[in-house]
Amino acid sequence: MSLKRIGFLLGKEVLQGSKTYFFVFAIVAPLVISLMLSLIFGTLFDEKAKLGIVDEGTSQLVAMTRESDSLTTREYGTVSDVQQAVKNGAVDIGIVLPEDFDNSIEQGKETTIKAYVWGESLAKHRIILAVTIANMVRELAGQEAPVEFEAISLGDGVSIPWNERLLPFIVLMAVFLGGLVLPATSVINEKQKRTLEALVVTPTTVGEIFTAKGLVGLVLSLFMGIVILLLNQAFGAEPALLVTVLALGAVMAATIGLLLGAFIKDITTLLAVWKFGGILLFAPAFIYMFPEIPQWIGRIFPTYYVLQPIVEISQWGGGWPAIATNVFILIALDIILIGVVVYALKKKEQYAV
């Protein structure tokens, strides 16, 4: 294997490949899909009730709702704006506070609040919003709660917010979308255009071609993994360790991509494989999203060993001792995959070319 030739092929891949639409797409798609997934799942499972508020005066209630943890507040300028927001489902309830609301409350004057309720909002969201507002108004009126409240936690579970549950899936997608699909499509494309045949009649070997393509996938995969973690502010306290794990994940993505490239003969079939293979790749991330599913099931899938160290470092503040075993398993999986690619190229060169 000639390093010079690999370097030359790598340069060609980067120069030619980066001009292709698909290369740019492999960078943009994970960002767009991440955003869409965050919106879909983040909203789908969001437990917080949403309040829309129009203040016709300068009520302190607005600031109080903003500071509350039990609800999400959005402020609107006009009654029609809040009505529209309620109709669209952007908020569960929209209220209109009349001018001089605070003074009326302090003086005990009868005051009317206009409330618009989204028909699809959950009954529990309606009651949470109603009692939260009532509690705040009582505070404004100077009423003191007649009870002390003592919260006691039972068990040792931890509440994981949805944005954190989604992170592993988003990171896996960023690492595997470009890292896997780019080398696979690049090899398939060359096979279909028969340029691979042209290359192997030169001193260049199939191994060198695959190494160059794999390296492009690896670098892109690593880059996207880092970008997604940076965007989600999830770099944790061990950035070097995290980048190492991402790099090992990128190796896995690129080698799987090369394997697919070696065995699949057209893009349509790759698309079909992606439809099903995606389940295997992303299964650990799905399992992580739903703590009710026994978490040991995730260990069956190879990508678990990429995901667990990333979660451990970025979300739990873990270090090397907490991830060492899984990182060693990941290294072993990478070596096995590289071995399989090498074996496949040697034994089934006719498929590869």
């Binding site: 949470i128 009870v147 349509t268």
Partner: protein, 351 residues
């Protein structure tokens, strides 16, 4: 147009499709995958804030509280209450002290203990606290000088909420159709790249026959899968004719778009890249169903909006022709325009 030739071309496309057993199996597996996603999603919506209560002496306000969205379940002992919290029977277990009424009368502040599972989100803990405080305010006779005039906008779904998986239903059906269009765009570009299209054009088959055949193949594949999916997940229980019409028009729409995509790309890589851009754009309106409120009026410029909106309203709200008639009309118009542009663009490319 020669219908016999079109028929033969459709038969050829289907036989090619099913000859590649791997691709055919993967299509079925893909459909099963969508079904699995549907069935693992929650089948019901828990609308109530369920609170367990252990009270040796029960103050009237706690006894009489009957608010929609709040369910108070009595526990026989504090241990049973804690067990209920750990088992997830209620989000919180409230313990009222035995001397609560005396404390209220003497103006003291009794302490109310609230048990939560350790993984209960903070917003739920805060919500339970304000609910309990509000009941205590009522018990102590502290009134509020506010009156609320309430107006429900849209159909009031309290007690009959749409489960998460049914909200996902239009999204999954539309995704099935769109992904199939991506496959069709690839098949067409493959024919152009491998020049089999030119070979076909030297036979009595015309370009028109070819594109009509491709279109029918694409529409059939997308439509049949989406209909199967909707039928299995119960999406046809309400307004089946509207849903069938919408899915058919949707399949025609994405087939037209896939023609345009196939003509845009210069090779299969770029067809795939353009195709996924198309997939993302067409998918956006479906997000609006899952996450209401994040999309505004501009979403109506995306053609798939009229498909998603029709399927959602018909399958989840039982909307009839009178409610949604405009959507199929717009879809039909878009179908004609996009299919025409697609055939024109593809015709130029294959020349």
């Amino acid at each position: 147009m020669n219908f016999r030739i079109v028929g033969a071309l459709i038969a050829k496309d289907f036989s090619l499709f099913f000859r590649n057993r791997f691709f055919a199996i993967m299509t079925v597996v893909g459909l099963i995958f969508y079904l699995v996603i549907y069935f693992v999603m929650p089948r019901a919506v828990n609308e109530e804030l369920e609170i367990g209560l252990y009270a040796p002496v029960l103050p009237p306000a706690f006894e009489q509280i009957q608010e929609e969205g709040l369910a108070i379940r009595m526990a026989a002992s504090e241990d049973e209450l804690k067990e209920g919290v750990i088992d997830g029977d209620y989000v919180a277990g409230i313990v009222l002290p035995p001397d609560i009424i005396d404390s209220f009368i003497s103006g003291q502040k009794p302490t109310i203990k609230a048990y939560f599972a350790a993984d209960t989100p903070q917003e739920i803990k805060d919500a339970v606290e304000v609910v309990i405080k509000e009941i205590a305010y009522q018990q102590t006779g502290q009134t509020l000088a506010i009156d609320t005039s309430e107006e429900v906008l849209g159909p009031d779904l309290v007690g009959k909420q749409i489960p998460t998986r049914d909200r996902l239903r239009p999204l999954l059906a539309v995704l099935l159709i769109i992904v199939e269009a991506l496959g069709l765009a690839n098949l067409i570009s493959e024919e152009i790249e491998q020049r089999t299209i030119q070979a076909l054009l030297v036979t009595p088959a015309t370009a028109k026959d070819l594109f009509v055949a491709k279109g029918i193949t694409g529409i059939s594949l997308a439509f049949v899968q989406a209909v199967l999916f909707m039928a299995i997940v119960g999406g046809m229980n309400q307004q089946p004719l509207i849903i069938l019409t919408a899915l058919l028009l949707g399949a025609v729409l994405v087939t037209g778009i896939s023609f345009i995509v196939a003509s845009l790309g210069k090779d299969m890589m770029s067809v795939m890249a353009w195709g996924i851009v198309m997939l993302i754009i067409l998918f956006i309106p479906a997000i609006g169903i899952i996450a209401p409120g994040i999309l505004t009026g501009w979403v109506k410029v995306i053609p798939s909006y009229y498909l998603v909106d029709t399927v959602h309203r018909a399958s989840n709200f039982g909307a009839g022709w009178g409610d949604i008639w405009l959507n199929p009309m717009i879809l039909l118009g878009l179908d004609v325009v996009l299919a025409w542009i697609g055939i024109l663009a593809l015709g130029r490319k294959s020349r």
